[in-house]
């Protein structure tokens, strides 16, 4: 207040100069300064360590004195399993300095500048909400081809290659176009319909194998004030965990492949429509827990473990994630989605299972052989068992559960896989087209339908338009099932 610059005709006063420059600054500062904080620099000096000698114990030729740096996603699985495996690395290479370990949930914001600057760590668990886009990383040649690791002998049995010790589909998931393997998915996730055996027993019911049984059970539950289903309404892209295998079961796995390949009219397949209508019926009949469209994943899981709803579409990390709120007598189980009826193309048991926790070795890492060797150690039976024991999830290593006491959830996952046999489907939307899957199909399409704001026909039309736009978009890389 008070007198300010009263120099109408005297040219610029001190305050005018300051004010003008301040105005310029004020309006520009908030807009976008932060982006150029990671302005691209030169590729960084190439200071890769020299390769070591290839021996029987060191098939990848790790430099025995080189340091190794590992960055782990500190999410549902924590970091202890990785620390344990890193100790094994140091035992194998005693001359190397202690493995440099870091755990974070902010994978992208911490690592993107390092990729851009050409100084990434040697091994990364590129997972979580801040996952870096794999398609872009592969397209920009930022990743190491892991084929040497796949062809290396496994730790437990030197006559077997690492690639032969993996669960079905894991290796293929790490490929994008052609042979190179860019990603090693370390966890093995069973997706499906999760429920409490105890809750079903209380209703004197068994897990429904057909949709009519499902509706009948939901009706029965509703009478007792229990909702049939809940899901993370704020992240409705959990719904596909049971919806996609349901579609495959009705119309065959080709339907999902067509969707993944972004083929024209893939979503207009009758199987999609039938499946959408079946799920929409859950909403129309009031079998969805009230308020579900506004819940986060944690909130919906908590309602579920509190017994307010019977079923939730989810993945096998839920056991660990919901442990704090799960009552002792909950008897958590997973099952393949109920089918529609006997005319389904695939048998009951068709399930979605695939690799989780994608590990990558950057092409510009200083010690890429060390990164791969660390993965080889993690894929040993001992480390895999340790992982399963600690985080209650299967690993990519096939087997390795013998002699472990498994929880009901983990055991039901193992059983479901056994029952599925070859009928495991693996839709790739969520690793090929993150935005399309999560934000467009998941949130704007299926989520809106399940909240009752779109009919199935409208949802399909909307999703098909998104898929067509993605197919035409030249700024994203497109993939096809081999």
């Amino acid at each position: 207040m008070g007198s300010t610059s009263a120099h109408k005709n005297e040219g610029p006063g001190r305050r005018d100069v300051i004010k003008r420059s301040a105005a310029l600054g004020l309006i520009s500062v908030p807009a976008m300064g932060f982006l150029s904080a990671c302005a691209s620099s030169d590729g960084g000096s190439d200071k890769k360590v020299e390769k070591g000698k290839v021996t029987k114990d060191n098939p990848l030729g790790v430099n025995e004195t080189a340091p190794l740096e590992v960055v782990i996603f500190n999410g549902g699985f924590g970091e202890q399993y990785a620390i344990d495996a890193e100790k094994k690395y140091n035992e194998a290479f005693p001359k190397a300095p202690k493995v440099k370990h870091a755990a974070t949930q902010k994978i992208q914001s911490q690592l993107q500048p390092r990729f851009n600057g050409g100084t990434p760590p040697d091994l990364i668990d590129n997972s979580g909400a801040e996952q870096m886009d794999m398609g872009v990383l592969v397209g920009k040649k930022q990743l190491m081809d892991l084929t040497p690791l796949m062809d290396a002998p496994s730790i437990d049995d030197p006559s077997k290659k690492v690639r032969d010790t993996l669960r079905p589909g894991v290796l293929e998931m790490g490929q994008f176009d052609g042979d190179p393997v860019w990603i090693m998915y370390y966890a093995y996730t069973v997706y499906g319909v999760w429920y409490s055996q105890t809750a079903l027993e209380k209703l004197d019911a068994e897990y429904p194998e057909t949709w009519d049984d499902m509706l009948a059970l939901c009706k029965k539950a509703k009478k007792q004030g229990i909702a049939g289903w809940t899901y993370p309404g704020k992240y409705p892209y959990y719904l596909p965990f049971s919806l996609y295998p349901f579609i495959a079961k009705i119309g065959g796995r080709e339907v999902l492949d067509k969707i993944d390949n972004l083929e024209p009219n893939a979503w207009k397949d009758p199987a999609v429509k039938t499946a959408f209508e079946a799920y929409y019926e859950l909403y129309k009949k009031g079998y969805i827990l009230d308020g579900t469209p506004a819940l986060t994943h944690i909130q919906s899981q908590t309602e579920w473990t509190k017994g307010k709803a019977l079923f939730i579409p989810n993945g096998s990390w839920v056991e660990n994630e919901a442990a704090a709120t799960t009552p002792d007598d909950f008897k958590m189980m997973v099952a393949a989605p109920s089918g529609l009826d006997s005319s389904d193309k695939m048998p009951f048991g068709t399930i979605w299972a695939s690799g989780g926790e994608p590990f990558i070795v950057p092409a510009k890492a200083n010690n890429p052989e060390g990164g791969m060797e660390q993965l080889r150690i993690m894929l040993s039976e001992e480390s895999s068992k340790n992982f399963t024991k600690q985080v209650k999830s299967l690993s990519a290593f096939n087997g390795g559960t013998d002699g472990l006491t498994l929880s009901t959830a983990l055991q039901s996952g193992v059983d479901a896989l056994k029952k599925a046999g070859d009928n495991v489907v693996n839709p790739r939307m969520q690793d090929w087209y993150v935005k399309l899957q999560k934000e467009q199909i998941g949130t704007a399409g299926i989520g809106e339908m399940m909240a009752g704001r779109l009919t199935p026909a409208e949802a399909i039309k909307k999703i098909q338009a998104f898929a067509d736009a993605a197919a035409k978009d030249q700024s994203i890389k497109h993939y096809k099932h081999q």
Partner: protein, 307 residues
């Protein structure tokens, strides 16, 4: 004389201006440069693509939606926040009954209210957003429980899960968390208005309403104007971004109902690996911000009162 003076002023400003140029202006120029490239942000190699990003932006529905929401925020938020803050500040400083030895004073307990209003300021916006995310939870959240408690069992909105309400919820939280700052700011402004003006007005028989519009507001105009710009920048920048990112999660609310420009910039750069396109949207945001500042400066120009 004039030349010498200008040179004299600038002479003192050389060092700060240089710093400013390097750390503020230069990144801007860089960003504009990157908006013409296909830079991914994940690798240092990129090439020029001309106006591709801009043509893409003009055809991008989500960009327009974000823009619409940002503009809505920048129009509504300052209006509501500053209006409320002016009302509160007036009540706290001059709105009270006349008491002994004081011609003007605030309502009873105004000292306490001042602290209560200011309190949200000490909380980080992330914490505020998280707290309200829980409060808005339709199952057992504070708001719906209260509604149920007063017998409104049938009225249980889904708040953040409802595309018609989500953005309003976010705005309410932003108002709640910022209004206190302006209450304090305006209180300081009002405190410096000489008491004689109020005494004179009272002697002339002016009521509170007239006092506010004829004395308080005109004398406070400079402060209000700065507040307006500041609030607009919060609405276009980091506060709006944080509230939307934390509260509505997902990609900006159900079906893009709360997505705002800074959020879209962030997602494009750090989720989709399209930093080049993100800087293009950033340029869009820059233009909106400049327009806003220009409009406010222009509209707010008034005769200065001196006292």
């Amino acid at each position: 004389m004039q030349h010498g003076r200008y040179r004299f002023i600038v002479g003192f400003l050389v060092a700060p201006l240089a710093l400013y140029a390097v750390f503020v202006i230069w990144p801007f120029i860089q960003s504009i440069y990157y908006s013409f490239t296909d830079w991914t942000g994940l690798s240092p190699d990129f090439k020029m693509v001309g106006f591709d990003n801009y043509t893409r932006m003009f055809k991008d529905d989500i960009f327009w939606k974000s823009l619409q929401h940002s503009v809505l925020l920048v129009l509504l938020l300052p209006l509501v926040t500053l209006g409320l803050a002016l009302f509160f500040a007036f009540m706290l400083n001059v709105g009270g009954r006349r008491r002994k030895n004081a011609t003007v004073s605030g309502v009873r307990g105004s000292g306490f209210y001042k602290i209560a209003y200011f309190f949200p300021q000490v909380l980080s916006i992330v914490i505020v957003a998280l707290l309200f995310q829980f409060a808005f939870n339709p199952r057992g959240g504070m708001i719906n429980s209260t509604l149920e408690g007063i017998g409104l069992d049938s009225f249980q909105p889904e708040w953040l899960g409802d595309p018609n309400l989500a953005l309003i919820c976010v705005m309410t939280v932003l108002v709640w968390s910022t209004v206190g700052f302006f209450v304090v700011l305006f209180s300081a402004g009002m405190a410096s208005i000489p008491k004689d003006f109020y005494e004179a007005a009272l002697l002339d028989g002016a009521n509170r309403f007239t006092t506010f519009f004829k004395i308080t507001l005109p004398l406070l105009w400079d402060t209000v104007q700065s507040g307006w710009v500041y609030m607009g920048i919060l609405a276009l920048g980091v506060e709006a971004f944080t509230a939307v990112q934390v509260m509505t999660v997902g990609p900006g609310g159900p079906d893009y109902s709360t997505t705002v420009l800074p959020l879209y910039v962030y997602q494009t750069a750090f989720r989709d690996g399209q930093a080049g396109y993100a800087t293009t949207i950033g340029v869009g945001l820059l233009i909106v911000t400049m327009l806003f500042a220009a409009v406010v400066m222009r509209l707010g120009r008034r005769e200065r009162l001196e006292f």
